[in-house]
Amino acid sequence: MRSAFLTIFIKEMKSIIRDPKILITMIIVPVVLTGLMYGIMGAMTTQAVKQAMKPGGEILLVDLDHGYWAENFINYLTSHKYTVTRYNDIDSAIKNYDNALCILVIPKGFSENLTRGYTAYLQVYYKIRGISFTSMMMGYKVYGIIRQYSDMLSKQILEKAGLSPEYVSSPVNSTSNIVIGNIIIKNIEPSQVTGPLLMLGLFVPLIIGLLAGFVAQLSATSIAVEKEQKMLETLLTLPLSRFSLIAAKVTAAFIVSLIGGGAYFAIMAWYFSQMSSLGATNSSASSSIALSALVKAVGVQTPAVLVIAGFGTLFLALGVALLLAMFVDDVRSAQIISGYIIAPLMLSIFIGLFLDITSMSPIQQTAIAAIPFANLVFILSLGLAGNYTAQLVAGFSSWAYAIIVLYIASRIIGTEKIFTMKLFKRKRRTSLGFHLLTR
């Protein structure tokens, strides 16, 4: 025969999948909306960046110089796919400013200045037509082509003078080396290390926080549904252990949350990979060197501790939500309750981000590592500081709290407190608590 655990688990999964209040409002709608939001943002940003990087476009040009270098610059523009429409004065150019990138004025003396070795200025007039990302990116396009032309001239001038352009543009330069813990990585950009560091220290804790919110909401709802559908009394008189009941509910909420959270994670990962690919310049070889050095610096156990702490945090959020939801009567109240958990949870993670744990003594570090939720953020810093004891505390303390909370929950569900204690006092006659107290 099927065990009590499996029977309740199957029922839970069926209820979650079939109940539009849970499946649609708590999983499908948020995931679809987030997907759409990131999809639109990603597509628009990619499009805007591609448009801005693509050479070409119309430039309204007012040439007041009529000299050699003015003509040379205009030829440079046309050779780089820009359409140049000439106007005699700025006013008529402004009147005809429709979809042009900008108005470019070559002032009188431009060629003379360049010939005599003085800096020559171009005047750019950019019309603000809106606050769209695309229109703002397009405005910057012209500065790029002016910069290119200027660099080209600079190179020619220096070569004529017999000087190295590289030397003149940067007589003093630097190479970048990174020290993490006791490891030195030579010739590497800081961004190549800070990227994975941010991923482990910030992105992963935030994703876990998001998942914990999901788990809290689902587990709180799973208990409230029993009360709302008036099944709790029947359920508690069935010959099944309270532990099976709690464990099955916890497992179902956990699995569905992982699926929902996985969808969120995939959407965010897709979005960030799109964004990072737009400005990617580093080779994958140097990135993997940075990553392996980083793992050496923080210790190979750090990612494992982060995973352990992550699951502990999820179970803790789940347990607290379950515990509080025992004292409410309906799904709506349960969702309010889960909000009370999610808000401090996220706040705790954010506070953790601003706390410099590395400047503290090892004892203080260990004490702070026991703070649930926030400790997710500290795991990486503790690895860098080499305080592995505190790191283990951070990794396993949430599990200890979760076990205690779930134990309390399974004890309470076996007592009458689940009926007699209420977090929200209601006057509805249909409330079970009301009946219990008045009969």
Partner: protein, 247 residues
């Protein structure tokens, strides 16, 4: 000597907040009988049934089912009872059949027994092919029949029914009463029920306990009570005992 299925002795229940629902309640229910607890609102009927169903804990006194104490041996008690609360519902996103399967899974020893339980419940409920529909589409009467069926299909040693026909129309109430009477006689199930409906109690119960302000104030078969109080029916008995207006 008949076996005592339920033994309640000097039961007290004080709720958080100080409300005293039971003030020394005592009664017994013998094997195979249908025992009815009747009383006005707030008399302590539901509290008594919930204590026997192991949902609430008594403040003092004892309540035993087949000798098992409801407070110290609730797991053993739960294997012997099936409880139907007054305001019971069911999982509305399951079909009637899935719901019966869910309940039967906790009681049946093997798949064969589970199938037997479900078939029996299907018959008791009289839902026909609607048993395959989602519970959310059921009327109140259909839901109550399904719940009666899930309570009786497991052949409990003791069925605890709180207002079994509460909120049902005459046709559905009559049907439910017939089901209870027929089924309990057929399988020798002991029943403890509470009701406001004196006709129902007279029709169903072998013995009746009238509960008032947390105590049993009168007990006996409907015929004995009527004769004892010189009344024509249980309603008159009830009114005389609890101090209602003369009929």
């Amino acid at each position: 000597m008949p076996t005592q299925v339920v033994e309640v002795n000097d039961l007290h229940k004080v709720y958080p907040g100080g409300k005293e629902a039971l003030k020394g309640l005592s009664f017994t229910v013998e094997e195979g009988e249908i025992y009815g607890l009747i009383g006005p609102n707030g008399a302590g009927k539901t509290t008594t049934l919930r204590i026997l169903a192991t949902i609430l804990e008594p403040t003092s006194g004892t309540a035993r089912i087949y000798g098992y104490d409801v407070k110290s041996e609730p797991e053993k008690v739960r294997r012997l009872i099936a409880y139907l609360p007054e305001e019971a519902g069911a999982y509305k996103y399951l079909s009637g059949l899935e719901f019966l399967d869910f309940i039967a899974s906790f009681y049946a020893e093997d798949e064969q027994e589970k199938r037997r339980m479900i078939q029996e419940a299907w018959k008791i409920s009289g839902l026909g092919m609607r048993i395959k529909d989602k519970i959310k589409t059921y009327s109140k009467g259909m839901l109550r029949r399904l719940l009666i069926a899930k309570t009786l299909m497991v052949h409990p040693k003791l069925a605890i029914l709180d207002e079994p026909t509460s909120g049902l129309d005459v046709i559905n109430s009559t049907r439910v009463r017939r089901i209870i009477k027929k089924y309990t006689r057929e399988y020798g199930v002991t029943v403890l029920l509470s009701s406001h409906n004196m006709l129902e109690v007279e029709y169903l119960c072998d013995r009746v306990g009238i509960i008032h302000e947390g105590r049993i104030v009168a007990e006996g078969s409907p015929a004995e009570l009527k004769s004892m109080y010189g009344a024509e029916n249980l309603e008159e008995v009830f009114a005389k005992i609890v101090g209602g207006e003369e009929i």
